[in-house]
């Protein structure tokens, strides 16, 4: 067995102190929860609740019970019911950054609002990116009304793609149709519970607050058997202490409070111990996702999540650059590498630019290679048929090379990751002969090639029809009689 290369940032003593301080915060300051139903639920299970002020004080026993009932792993399944994700141990899976407002248009190199055609191209492209295991509802088509743009993204993803989907709602009302779409794909409640198809992001509001929508989402998902990922977003120095340890204490408290809400509602409901904390850049008033401190906090809270025995998630392999430039590559690659070495189970970010607000198809293609290289890295180094070493060296000296040695042929493709054409490995003359293409140009060629090679989802026709019926009814509910035109290849 290979050694699993692993990064650790917190010593045991520091980790334990962060956890105990976070628990203390929850018991002495508590959190706000702006949702009467959730307040009642928490009160019923022993929390001290001030219904006037929407304030909840947790107890050590409540925290312990929640941590005892929360599952240590769970799986995801694609639209066809095949297992794609095992969120356990140090297994890592990549998913595109989600919910961007914009896309980077390759032709104009402008950042603009996306539409349905952009979203369909995205799902088609993602079908061909083998190192990104799930879809996310990556950006928000602007050609439908805001009131149902959340369910519309999920609809398009389930109609065109087969991979499971990381998503979330923007309102309480949207949950119903987004659940119903999943029931349509799976065929029933029991089937969906047995084979989860999506993960819903549920975000506390820093500092130490749960909004009505997100806390409701947590309990709605629990009732339907849909896994959630908690996305606590402390901003160091602004909405959280400036220190990394202080930020971690806050992240731990906010995420633990989410686990309590989830587990008092449904003991055993699957969750990812996730987040999207960020450093706060006091010069630009921005939240750099590519900052090394952001990435350090991500990797460190992953250690805390693992200390609780939970599968983890983070927004970490993404960039704040506005174009697919060197900054985009370096921030994404550094984040992905650290995340994978840390064993973050669901790594969110590929494709994303501009502080989680702009998706780029060309960047997705590059990031898919970053994911591929990173996945190779964490496989580590293991002896295959290397010992004793004498025979292979005798063969090398006898034959003068090992190019066609059976040993080479047996291990070449297992031992070495061969990236696609977006990564330039040609010699100078060949690179010139093939057009002296920039990374952006090569990535764009890959985008077009992969979209051209897209094969429609194998989801049964009647289930696709039911998805369309659900979406059309939802659109009508919000005053849109006809959905935007879609390519017929679904």
């Amino acid at each position: 067995m290979a050694l699993r290369p692993q990064l650790r940032l917190l010593g045991d003593e520091l980790l334990a102190r962060i956890v105990s301080e976070a628990r203390d915060l929850l018991c002495r300051l508590g959190t706000q929860v702006q949702n009467p139903r959730v307040l009642k639920l928490l009160a019923d299970h022993g929390a001290k609740v001030d219904f006037e002020k929407n304030q909840v004080l947790y107890t050590p026993a409540l925290l312990d019970r929640a941590l005892a009932s929360v599952p240590h792993s769970f799986k995801l399944f694609d639209v066809l019911g095949n297992e794609t994700h095992d969120f356990s141990g140090h297994k890592v899976h990549f998913t595109p950054g989600s919910a961007a407002l914009h896309v980077l248009d390759y032709q104009t190199q402008q950042i603009r609002k996306p539409d349905t055609a952009d979203y369909v191209r995205y799902t088609q492209l993602l079908s061909g990116l083998s190192h990104i295991a799930s879809q996310s509802t990556a950006f928000i088509p602007a050609d439908v009304a805001d009131r149902f743009s959340d369910s519309y993204r999920l609809f398009l993803s389930l109609l065109y793609g087969e991979k499971p989907v990381v998503t979330g709602t923007f309102t309480i009302e949207s949950f119903r149709v987004m659940r119903d779409m999943q029931l349509a794909v799976r065929g029933g409640e029991k089937e969906l519970r047995e084979k989860p198809l999506t993960v819903f992001s549920c975000c506390p509001t820093s500092p130490l607050k749960w909004s009505e929508i997100t806390s409701q989402n947590v309990i709605d998902c629990g009732a339907a058997g849909i896994p959630v990922e908690f996305i606590s977003m402390p901003l160091s120095g602004f909405m959280a202490p400036v220190t990394l340890v202080g930020t971690l204490v806050q992240h731990t408290a906010e995420t633990l409070s989410g686990i309590v809400i989830s587990q008092v509602n449904r003991p055993g409901a699957p969750v990812l111990y996730g987040g999207s904390p960020a450093a706060f850049d006091m010069r630009y008033e921005t939240t750099p996702m590519g900052a090394v401190e952001t990435q350090m906090v991500d990797c460190a809270y992953n250690e805390i999540g693992k200390h609780f025995g939970l599968p983890t998630q983070a927004y970490i392999s993404l960039s704040d650059a506005k174009l697919l430039d060197a900054q985009a590559g370096l921030e994404t690659a550094m984040g992905a590498t650290l995340a994978a070495l840390s064993g973050i189970n669901s790594i969110s970010g590929p494709g994303m630019l501009d502080f989680e607000s702009c998706q780029s198809l060309e960047k997705l293609v590059l990031d898919n290679e970053i994911c591929g290289m990173t996945l190779r890295l964490v496989q580590g180094i293991e002896p295959r048929e290397d010992f004793p070493a004498l025979p292979i060296f005798e063969e090398l000296l006898r034959d003068g090379h090992l190019l066609i040695s059976p040993h080479t042929r047996r291990h070449l493709k297992k031992e070495h990751y061969f990236p696609g054409r977006v990564i330039d490995r040609a010699n100078l003359s060949r690179w010139r002969e093939e057009g002296s293409l920039t990374l952006g140009q090569r990535a764009h060629q890959e985008v077009e090639r992969l979209i051209g090679a897209y094969v429609p989802s194998r989801l049964a026709g009647e289930r696709k029809k039911e998805l369309c019926r659900l979406m059309e009814a939802e659109a009508r509910r919000w005053g849109m009689e006809k959905l935007p035109v879609r390519p017929v290849t679904a």
């Binding site: 003068g400 190019l403 042929r409 070449l412 060949r430």
Partner: protein, 213 residues
């Protein structure tokens, strides 16, 4: 013809044990050796070359196919000679004088043999006069020269000049390769072709050998 297709496919799969029986079977069926060579073995190698170019297969697959090609050629060669069909041509290769690097040159040699050429490999540290003498004595159509050091590159020009001096530059073509050389350098010193990698070197030799025919 079905059997020629089978030979090509067997070669593409790198099956050096499978090709000779198929070649013998084709002969038994009355196919002439030249047709087996062109439409079986070389056709297979052409497919392999194209798949390699687009990264569908990798170098080991090409070399295994080349090995299968040799195996087929072992059966055909005596018949081709006796029926008066010449080989695709002979190529003299070597690393130029002063240069002891020969990995790239060796790979080119393997690939050239795979493409059906007879290769006379002079090794490394080869003087200009040796290249020309060998090309003359073996009746080679092409001289392939490799260099890894900028200091040894001038030997390539010496070969070109020597061929000119002996009025052989129309009959014996030259091709160069190696890290420090380029198409520009090839143009500057007057060699006939440049290959930036092994596949390009084989393509270059093909063109040159055809031009000499």
């Amino acid at each position: 013809m079905e059997i020629l297709k089978q030979i090509a496919q067997c070669l593409e799969a790198g099956d050096d044990a499978g090709v000779p029986p198929l070649v013998r079977q084709a002969l038994k069926q009355g196919t002439v050796p030249k047709t087996i060579l062109d439409e079986g073995l070389i056709a297979g190698m052409n497919t392999v070359g194209e798949k390699f170019r687009v990264h569908e297969i990798f170098l080991p697959d090409v070399l295994l196919a080349a090995k299968a090609m040799y195996a087929g050629m072992d059966v055909l060669k005596p018949l081709l000679i006796s029926s008066g069909v010449s080989s695709r041509g002979r190529v003299v290769i070597g690393s130029v004088q002063g240069d002891l690097h020969d990995i790239g040159k060796n790979l080119v040699g393997i690939m050239l043999k795979g493409a059906g050429y007879e290769v006379i490999d002079l090794g490394n540290d080869v003087a200009a006069t040796t290249f020309v003498a060998a090309a003359k004595s073996h009746d080679a159509r092409v001289i392939g020269m490799s260099a890894l050091l900028t200091t040894t590159m001038p030997v390539m020009k010496e070969v070109v000049d020597l061929l000119k001096k002996e009025n052989l530059n129309g009959r014996i073509k030259t091709i160069i390769g190696g890290a420090p050389v380029s198409q520009n350098y090839a143009d500057e010193i007057g060699v006939d072709a440049y290959g930036y990698d092994c596949a390009q070197a084989v393509a270059g030799v093909k063109k040159l050998a055809a031009a000499v025919r």
